[in-house]
């Protein structure tokens, strides 16, 4: 009984500092993984280049729809990257936090390894037209919501 009591106290100590379900976020690791797997095309600050889409101050737009949220994982560069699920989720969260600017709400729902693991099983084959279509849908939904306000 005494032993059990002590362990409960220990567990209480854990709970006070470890939010349940939160995944570890290591910005240094995320940045390194971005450099090794993404930066070559997306540029150091996410501005992109020629045909490479701009993420800087824009990438959060995709979080406004479910398909858009899924899109960021299903694009081939993300889905088929050599990163594990947890590290891919971490890089995506880092990109949104670091490059998203005003396009991202500060309380956006973070990607988790489990979510990313499921979504990356369906990588997109055609990306360009789908991206245009998605953004058009998001824009029209935004307009509709604004007119209802």
């Amino acid at each position: 009984m005494r032993k059990l009591g002590r362990w409960w106290l220990f567990a209480l100590g854990l709970l006070t500092v470890a939010p349940l379900g939160a995944e570890e976020f290591n910005a240094q690791r995320a940045r390194f993984n971005y450099q090794m797997s993404c930066q070559g095309c997306h540029a150091p600050d996410g501005v992109g280049a020629s045909t490479v889409p701009r993420m800087k101050d824009f990438v959060g737009t995709f979080l406004r729809s479910r398909a858009g949220r899924e899109f960021l994982v299903r694009v081939p560069g993300a889905a088929t990257s050599a990163l594990g699920d947890a590290e891919l989720a971490e890089v995506l969260n880092w990109i949104l936090l670091d490059f998203g600017g005003d396009s991202v709400k500060s309380d956006f729902r973070r990607y988790t390894g489990t979510e990313v693991g499921a979504l990356r099983k369906s990588p997109l084959f055609e990306v360009d037209r789908y991206r245009v279509q998605l953004l058009a849908e998001i824009a029209s939904n935004t307009m509709e919501n604004q007119s209802h306000d």
Binding site: L9, F10, L14, T51, V52
Partner: protein, 177 residues
């Protein structure tokens, strides 16, 4: 009210019999260790992590020599021999914003750095100081890690001239993950 008195007396006596003052210290110690065993909140960690601004690394070696440390994964003509430097393009060429990125170990400090091999484009091949070390090169099915494509992408001209080797960061020590 007697009921409450009895209850508290009984509990207090039980507690006194079962525990010692040192036992309380032990339990508090457990609480402290438990709290310290867990990393800080993820948000705090994000803020606390250094932004990894690449410091200028210590240098050794000749940048016009293929054996120079930054060229461990290069495949092309060294801009240092072509009127440019390890970090800059020769006049009349444009640096490609789209690059192949790898890591090389710097013998001067023993650390691994992230190197961006930005190609310089817009003039025909420089033709001197060909250097093919290709460490970490992958077949074209890993297109972001293959040297066998022309990386003059995103420039006005796709004609390849030479390659630079720019330090863009410090590699993460995977062992410390």
């Amino acid at each position: 009210m007697n009921f409450l008195d009895d209850l508290f007396e009984r509990r207090s006596r039980q507690l006194a019999q079962r525990s010692s003052r040192r036992g309380v210290l032990k339990q508090l110690g457990g609480l402290l260790v438990g709290a310290a065993a867990v990393p800080l909140l993820p948000v705090a960690r994000a803020v606390a992590a250094p932004q990894a601004a690449p410091k200028a690394p210590k240098e050794m070696g000749d940048e016009s020599d293929c054996d120079y440390w930054r060229y461990c994964a290069i495949d092309g003509f060294l801009c240092s021999c072509c009127g440019g430097t390890k970090n800059s393009c020769p006049p009349g060429t444009e640096m490609s914003p789209i690059t192949w990125i790898g890591t090389c170990r710097n013998p001067a400090d023993g650390r691994n750095y992230v190197i961006s091999y930005n190609d310089c484009c817009g003039k025909s091949s420089c033709g001197i100081c060909l250097c093919q070390r290709d460490e970490g090169d992958r077949p074209p099915y890993r297109s972001d890690k293959t040297n066998d494509i022309n990386w003059c992408l995103g420039t006005a001209s796709a004609v390849y001239h030479c390659s630079t080797a720019i330090v863009v960061g410090v590699a993460l020590d995977k062992g410390a993950k």
